[in-house]
Structure formats: C-alpha cells, structure tokens
Symmetry: C2
DNA sequence: GACAAAGATGAAAGCGTGTTCATTCTTGAT
DNA sequence: ATCAAGAATGAACACGCTTTCATCTTTGTC
C-alpha cells in the first residue's frame, strides 16, 4: 500500500483536474470525449489544466464502464520469425494510429494452445484478437472468448478454413495464392525445370497445406509431373537438412519451391555451400512471403509476395468496421499474390 | 449498448459465480487470490463453478483497485529488426510466465519520441516499462510516467548513460562490451589485420557510441592504428553502400567491425558480390549481437555476443524485484560479452 | 471442558471513469 | 418581450473487482 500511495500521489485524477479548473468532474470526462457536448472554451481550459497536472484518463476505469479496452490481442508463436515480426510491426503501427494498443501473447513454438493463456488473455478484455497460429480453429478461440470478441486468424487458405469453422460466422481476410504460384510455375517451366520439389512448412499449417495444394493443381494444369514433397517446419535448419537429404538420399530436383523465404534460404545455402551446386544454374529456388531479407545479395530470392501494407490496411479496416458495427453481417476481403522476380530462377 | 449487453451476457462476473456456487462474492475473489484465506474445499468448489461458467477475473477492474495492471509496456522502434524481435520474444515469454502481458508501442524509426504516445501509454498504467530506444534519456520517460513506474532502458553503455540521467535513481542493466571486443581484436591481430574499419550504427545510439569507444580504446592498448570510422544506421542497405564507398572512394581495409550483425551482412555482401573480394581471405568481418541469422551458411559470421537468455533473466528479475519492493535501493546488474568465432575472420 | 489464538467469513466501502436524467442556461424566432 | 427548442450542466449511479474490519467459527493447549 506504500506504492499505492505513491502512485496516487503521482497520477492526477479527473477529480483533481476538476477542482483545479473549477468545474465538475463530469466536465473533465466530457473534455476528453470529443463528441460530448461541452462549451469549446470550457473544454480548452480543462485540457490546459489537465496538461499542467499531467493528467491522462485511466484506461482501466474507462474500460470498466465503456466495455472497450482499446487493446488488440495478438497471439504469436515466434516473434523472431521475419514474417511475423514484419506483420506485428505493421499492425501495431496501424492500430496505434487508430488509438489501439497491441497486447502480445506468446504461444509455444509447436503451436499447441495453452488454454490457460486464452483464459488469461480474456481477462484483459481485448476489443479484438488477431491470431498468427494458423492451425488454431477459430471455434476454439471463440469458445474461450465467448464469441463477443471479434477474432481474426492470419492464414492463407480459403475453403479449407471456412469448412473447419462451419457454423461460426466471422470476418475473413483471404489470400489467393493462385496468381503468384502460377507466375512462378510459368517462369520455372520457361527455364526448363521439370523435377520440382516442394519444401513444406509446418504440417499443421493451413497456409502450408494451401500452398502445396495450389502448387500441385497448377503443375497438373500445365501437364507437369507432381512435385516431390519434403517435410519441413518453416525453419532454416530443417530446410537445410531436407535439401541435403533430397540430393544425397533422393534423386535431387531441378527446382525447389519453399513454403517460406527462410526455408528457401536454408535450401540455397545447402545447395551452394554443402552440395556444391549453383543457384540458379543447377537448381532454381522460389520462396514465399518476400520478407526484407529476400533482397539481400547473398540470396536475392525470387519469391511469391502478399503485399504487407495492403494486407494490414485491410485487416485494420475489418477490425474497425466490426467494432463500430458488432452486429453487422460478416465481411470478407480477398487479397492477391504476385511473383517478385529476382535472381534465383533464371 | 447493444454490444455492451452482448458482452454482459457473454462474460460471467464474480457475482454470477457467487450465486451459482452459493457463496459470497468476496469468497470468489479470494478463490482467485492464492494467498487469501479460504477453506480449500470451498475454493475448489468455487473454481469448479467458475470454470463451468467460463469465468475470468476482469483485469481492468482488478487493476483499478489493486493499482497493478500486470502490463509491461515495451517501447520499440522497429519490431522487424532481428535483434529487437529476439529481445521482445524472450522478454514476453519470461514475463508471461510471471503473469505479465506485453503491451507494445511503436515509436518512429528516427527514434523521435512522440509525447502523445507516452501520455497514451501511461493511460494503460503499465507496472513497468522497457524502452528499446537507446537515445531516450530516462528522465524524459520518468517525467511522463510520474516516476511511479519503474523504467528499464535497453542499451549497452555504462558511464555515459548514467551521466545523462544524473539525479534520477533507477535500476540498471549494464553490458560490458570490453571482453568481446578484446577477444575479437586479438583474433584479428593474430591474423595480421592492420587497417580496421568501424561500420557504425545509428549516430544517436548509445550502444553504438560505446562500441566505437571501446574498440578505439582496445586498438590503442594493443598499439594498433585508430579505426576508420564509417557512418551507418544499423541497416543492411546503408552498410552495403558504406562498404562500397570505403573500397571505391576510400582506401579499403583489412577488417570491418560492424556495429551489429545486420550491418555485417551488408558489408559481407558488398565485398563478395560487388567488390569481388573474398571474406575472410581478403577482408575479415566481425559483427555484434549474434542474431539467429549469424549462423546461416551464407554469412557464418564471427560476432560479439551478449547472452540473450542471461540478459532476459536479469531484466525480468530486476522488474519483479522492483515491483515487490518499490522503495528499495536501485539495483544494478552487469553482463559480459564474448566472441563467437565462426568463419568470417580466419 | 474452558479459553485464547488463529482462521474463515460477509457487509460495506472504494478504485477512476462514462453515462443517464432531470435541471438550468442559452439561443433565435415570433 | 415571450416562448419553445436545443445545448450545457452536475448529481447520482454503474462498471467488476479487492480490501478492510468486525464478526463468527474452528483449532490447539493446559
């Protein structure tokens, strides 16, 4: 209670501001609420006094009465992953501009969801939740959050996911993988690649499943052989090892399609630094995501890109719309992918 | 008020749990507070009912009365930076285990501090604040946070920083750069390097200043020439360009000391892919941080490391101690650095 | 079996804010 | 000058929880 007293002394309350400005406490509240009716000059005076006293409305108290926490929860398995950190950065910036703060929760790397974490998170009463863990069905999340909090799952699939969550209505941000993959396959085919390997991401990942499925479909459409599928987990080391196995134990390949850029880096390094093969002359490599490192000269990776800014804009728009109209019909946004051509194909 | 009603219907309150379990609301509160006195069987019964009703204590309400938000604010300029994302990830994991959630705030990349952001952040009443922006003096932060919230600034300097914040007492986590730099210089000298360049980080960065100062000091102690100092900003692209300039406009160097690993990557790529020089034969390169990418085969970087886990453990310990004893004397922890030898020196 | 000490319990007060609702003040048209 | 309509105002309540305090129950000891 010692610190309690300190804090009380340190932080000004609306009551103190009211007394100092010779107005009622209600007026102070209104001064900080733009659409409340208050004489402009009075508002200015109150805001001035508030600034002098270094006063800020207490979000906890405000949240208690309004039901809005101005907090957006993000459930993340690995902040270190370039793709995720990129996404977190952009989302936090955009949400902050709209008055929301990011509340970060980490889940285990194996994507297993700790129920206690969800319970704990709900205690903070986030206005919205963005989940980066692609294998968590929103039903699970909805159950924990009592279906009162809008949830967005960042993933790259369409039908598969919608099916898994049948019965639950929610806003969706869809990514059409087809365009980018088609462009990549056309390019590979043009350079004469015939034996294509798909270096997978996490087995449970829906994005991975959808990328693999779309690749197979596209190859079939063009009359090419089905891809050799290698297991992976989106990490550099696993991709490195898988590539070694492909060429030492297996029969190699003309081209490698990696489920993400980091995996592509692992493949490239294995080819160049351990197998003595050159990229793109001996083996062509294509990645997914277009993370910032993809343009580094050591890799200079040709990769399928989902425009980050566009995606973040769409997601923030979805979140804000849902908060303003909680009972509106579910929205759906669809984004496209395209190939970024660099030096690892031709 | 529609969503309000929904939410009310969705989230159970302590009152409802109390009624369902036939106890007083106070008992429910005690059931969730481990050190409150309550008959064990009664507690179990309450917790069981709570689970059935999917009840979680509301953190906002709890925060209001206890003065503890269980929120730790993190002020971050660039989540995408491997070093920062690494640190955020580890801190979030460790704090989460102690019952704290991470509240993320982004500041502009040029490190300029938006005062409105600080005000806004204070509204959330974080129990502690960790700032990654090395050039923000804690005085500024303290002023905004009313000196009631413990603040930790992640930086790598010692005296310089302490001087800048004279008069303010605060806990400190210090990093001794000397060890790692000395090991690196010894290694470089052993391989015959004589002309050493220092590829700087952000000009305002205290970590950068301290690394540069320590490098100069170490070179002088060993009777070596002062380093050629190049301006940088911790980014790949700037490091790349600076390295080109060093060899095309300037007279080149035997070895490059980069202020961070990402900068070292830029230097290596410029040397290998544009200047036609080989690393380490023609030019040796040393980095700072030992981020995960440093072991990727394309770089295989020799670098000075501050043990992340050790650092996070120390920081979390500091935070917890300060929260338990707000009036205790300031603590100080000091960490060491050491050289991780890989393939870019000899 | 009596008594003190310790533990368990619930009523009430309060944390800092937003929001009703009834009242007062202002404005502009007649 | 008068009146209605609208804007501005403040008292009171509510949000969901913890904590104090006084009361009641259990436990241990001689």
């Amino acid at each position: 209670m010692n610190d309690r007293a300190e804090k009380k002394a340190a932080r000004a309350t609306a009551d103190q501001v009211a007394r100092a400005a010779n107005v009622s406490r209600v007026a102070v509240s209104r001064a900080f609420n733009p659409n409340a009716s208050l004489k402009p000059e009075k508002r200015d005076r109150i805001l001035k006094v508030a600034r002098e006293l270094n006063y800020t409305p207490d979000m906890a108290a405000r949240s208690l009465v309004t039901g809005r926490s101005h907090l957006v929860g993000m459930i993340v398995p690995d902040v270190c992953s370039p793709w995720e950190s990129q996404e977190i950065d952009a989302l936090t910036t955009a949400l902050q501009a709209e008055g929301f703060a990011t509340l970060l929760f980490k889940v285990k790397a194996d994507f297993s969801m700790d129920p206690r974490l969800l319970t704990y998170m709900r205690g903070f009463n986030p206005d919205s939740v963005i989940a980066f863990t692609e294998n968590i069905l929103p039903d699970v999340l909805c159950g924990f959050l009592d279906r009162a909090v809008p949830i967005y799952v960042i993933y790259d699939d369409v039908e598969q996911f919608a099916g898994a969550a049948s019965g639950t209505l929610y806003d969706r941000l869809l990514v059409r993988q087809k365009n980018g993959i088609e462009q990549a396959v056309a390019l590979l085919q043009g350079y004469g690649a015939r034996r294509i390997a798909y270096l997978g991401g996490k087995a449970q990942s829906l994005a991975n499943a959808e990328r693999e499925r779309t690749l197979k479909e596209t190859l079939a459409e063009r009359g090419m052989d089905a891809p050799i599928v290698l297991a992976g987990d989106y990490t550099y080391d696993t991709a490195y090892q898988a590539t070694l196995d492909l060429f030492r134990v297996g029969d190699g390949a003309d081209a490698i399609f990696a489920a993400n850029d980091v995996g592509a880096f692992g493949a490239i390094d294995a080819l160049r630094h351990e197998l003595g093969l050159s990229v793109p002359e001996d083996v062509k490599v294509v990645g997914f995501d277009d993370i910032p490192q993809a343009h580094w000269k050591s890799y200079n990776l040709t990769t399928v890109r989902i425009d980050l800014e566009e995606r973040v804009r769409a997601l923030v728009r979805l979140i804000l719309m849902r908060l303003r109209a909680p009972d509106a019909e579910p929205f759906t946004e669809t984004l496209n992918t395209r190939l970024i051509v660099r030096g690892t194909v031709g």
